[in-house]
């Protein structure tokens, strides 16, 4: 065991957990005041649900013994995580327990990301059921495909086979462009299609109610993302350092790129544009951060952010209510980040592979497209079916009356802000 690596991974784990409340603020500020609490609760409740489910069988399905074909791990092998807490249980140079809890945070944030597509209108109980079923049938298998590398003995023989994308295909996804962002982005589209549009979509102005909250959320996401990306090195080493650097520079370039698109297209550089550009850059560099140099990182961040800035307006033209642009940000930037590794990868970066622009041919590009496409197709179909079953049985949407009154009041019996002279004194104790 390496104490330096272990210390860094404990910190990284806490950083990645912080991303989910950060996401709650980022999303919460973007909805109307009557739905902010529900929006934040969809993220918060994911922390509770996935912490439990991951410990029971999620880690085991993701990193347990492969059940065949690199498709899914054995859910019973590490049930309850009781078999990995011994002091001599190691994953590389860190305790297995630290690795397991680090990876738990990825499962939490991935499903929380989806909630942005269904703002203001989902039954809370149905969302809870969706989270449990979705991580079980979609996230755990896909994370196994992408994140579970083959375990090898000292002679290099595979003794513990892992997932097919990580090993058989050997596509590059350092921290989750496919398993997290393409996965959540396309799932968000499926969910938005099943639930349908909010009452008044395209007719009433659904303006963000608190942009300062959005900015704070974006800042916390950026901060936490260092754990997400640099922590994915699973060591405090040179790879983590390069990844950290690439994460900053890609995100900086992405923010500038979004602001430039806005300034040219709308005449103004906006705060919501800056926050959105930050997220686009972070998403795009996530899979690529170990495979590119800082110039490549800048290019990927800037290209992805400009593409997202254009993509977010498509929902009005196509007519689906992906309320907070999970598709326009996570799917688009996730696809660009994952696929452009095939162009910008350079052997001088830690992953040590050349992409098309650095004389490596098209082999890597093809792998990246296959990995992205496989996750996209599986996640869309599985999510669509899960959402349809929930909708047809217990129902996924609150009533139109409840939606118009406001989901915070109807579902949670709370109102987010008590301000103004009458605010806190509009009634009394209920008998």
């Amino acid at each position: 065991m390496d104490t330096g690596d272990t210390a860094w991974m404990l910190i990284s784990t806490a950083l990645v957990l912080l991303m989910t409340p950060g996401l709650a603020m980022f999303y919460g500020g973007m909805v109307r005041a009557k739905g902010v609490l529900n929006m934040m609760m969809m993220s918060f409740v994911s922390m509770g649900l996935v912490a439990v489910v991951w410990t029971l069988y999620g880690y085991s399905m993701t990193f347990g013994e492969d059940l065949g074909g690199g498709l899914v791990g054995d859910p019973t092998e590490s049930f309850g995580l009781t078999n990995i807490i011994a002091a001599d249980s190691l994953f590389g140079t860190i305790p297995t327990a630290v690795f397991a809890v680090f990876q738990m945070m990825f499962a939490i944030i991935t499903v929380a990301l989806i909630s942005g597509a269904i703002a203001d209108r989902a039954k809370f109980g149905s969302w809870i059921l969706f989270v449990i079923v979705w991580v079980t049938l979609v996230y755990f298998p896909v994370a196994h495909w992408v994140f579970d590398f083959d375990g090898k003995d000292e002679a290099g023989n595979v003794v513990d086979p892992g997932g097919w994308i990580a090993n058989d295909l050997a596509a590059i996804d350092f921290a989750g462009g496919t398993a997290v962002h393409i996965n959540a982005g396309i799932a968000a589209l499926a969910l938005a299609l099943v639930l349908g549009k909010r009452v008044g979509f395209g007719r009433e102005p659904f303006k963000p109610h608190n942009l300062t909250l959005v900015m704070l959320g974006a800042a916390l996401l950026w901060f936490g993302w260092f754990g997400f990306n640099a922590g994915s090195a699973v060591a405090a080493n040179a790879t983590a350092g390069v990844v950290f650097l690439n994460t900053v520079v890609a995100t900086g370039a992405a923010m500038l790129s979004w602001l430039l698109v806005e300034r040219v297209r709308n005449g103004h550089a906006t705060s919501l544009g800056a926050a959105s550009g930050i997220i686009a850059g972070l998403v795009a560099i996530t899979p690529a951060c170990s495979a590119v140099d800082p110039l490549g990182a800048m290019a990927i961040g800037a290209i992805a952010s400009a593409a997202c800035a254009i993509a977010v307006s498509l929902k009005f033209k196509i007519g689906y209510d992906d309320s907070l642009d999970v598709v326009g940000l996570h799917l688009v930037a996730g696809l660009i980040g994952s696929i452009f590794i095939g162009f910008f990868a350079t052997s001088s970066a830690p992953a040590a592979v050349d992409g098309l622009f650095y004389g490596g041919g098209t082999a890597l590009l093809v792998k990246q497209v296959i990995a992205s496409g496989a996750v996209l197709v599986y996640s869309f179909i599985a999510t669509y079916l899960i959402a349809q079953v929930i909708d047809k049985t217990i129902g996924f949407r609150i009533t139109e009356d409840a939606e118009v009154t406001g989901i915070d009041l109807v579902v949670h019996a709370e109102s987010s802000y008590e301000i103004g002279s009458q605010g806190a004194t509009r009634g009394g104790y209920a008998s």
């Binding site: 008044g200 007719r203 009433e204 118009v404 009154t405 009041l409 019996a413 709370e414 109102s415 103004g420 009458q422 509009r426 009634g427 009394g428 104790y429 209920a430």
Partner: protein
């Protein structure tokens, strides 16, 4: 000249505003208010304690109109604000003695 005052459900503001604009009113003043009529309040829960909220959030719209436009404007508001359920609100009309447009000093109907 008359002042039309309407108390409506917050969710109906967009529809009423749109209907009044289509109807051709020259302007309106909108405020957030709270109050009660026949509609019951609701209960909110904070750390296990329930609170009744009997003053409900409503929107007040005020429109100045010439006498000949009163009936049609009131009808427009009532139609757009209606959901058919209790708590839809009220519209009332009060006489206005004089109006002055601040910028030009115009008075009477031309100041509306």
């Amino acid at each position: 000249m008359k002042l039309i005052t309407a108390i409506i459900k917050p969710a109906k503001l967009e529809e009423v505003k749109h209907a009044l604009t289509e109807h051709g009113v020259a302007g309106m003043t909108v405020s957030d208010v709270s109050g009660f009529g026949r509609q019951r309040g609701h209960t909110e829960v904070y750390r296990g304690t329930s609170y009744t909220v009997d003053l409900l959030a409503k929107i007040r719209i005020e429109v100045l109109v010439d006498d000949k436009d009163v009936a049609s404007t009131v009808e427009t508001i009532a139609k757009a604000a209606s959901t058919g359920s209790v708590g839809d609100g009220k519209v009332w009309v009060t006489p206005v003695e004089s109006v002055v447009r601040v910028r030009t000093g115009e008075t009477g109907a031309s100041a509306i």
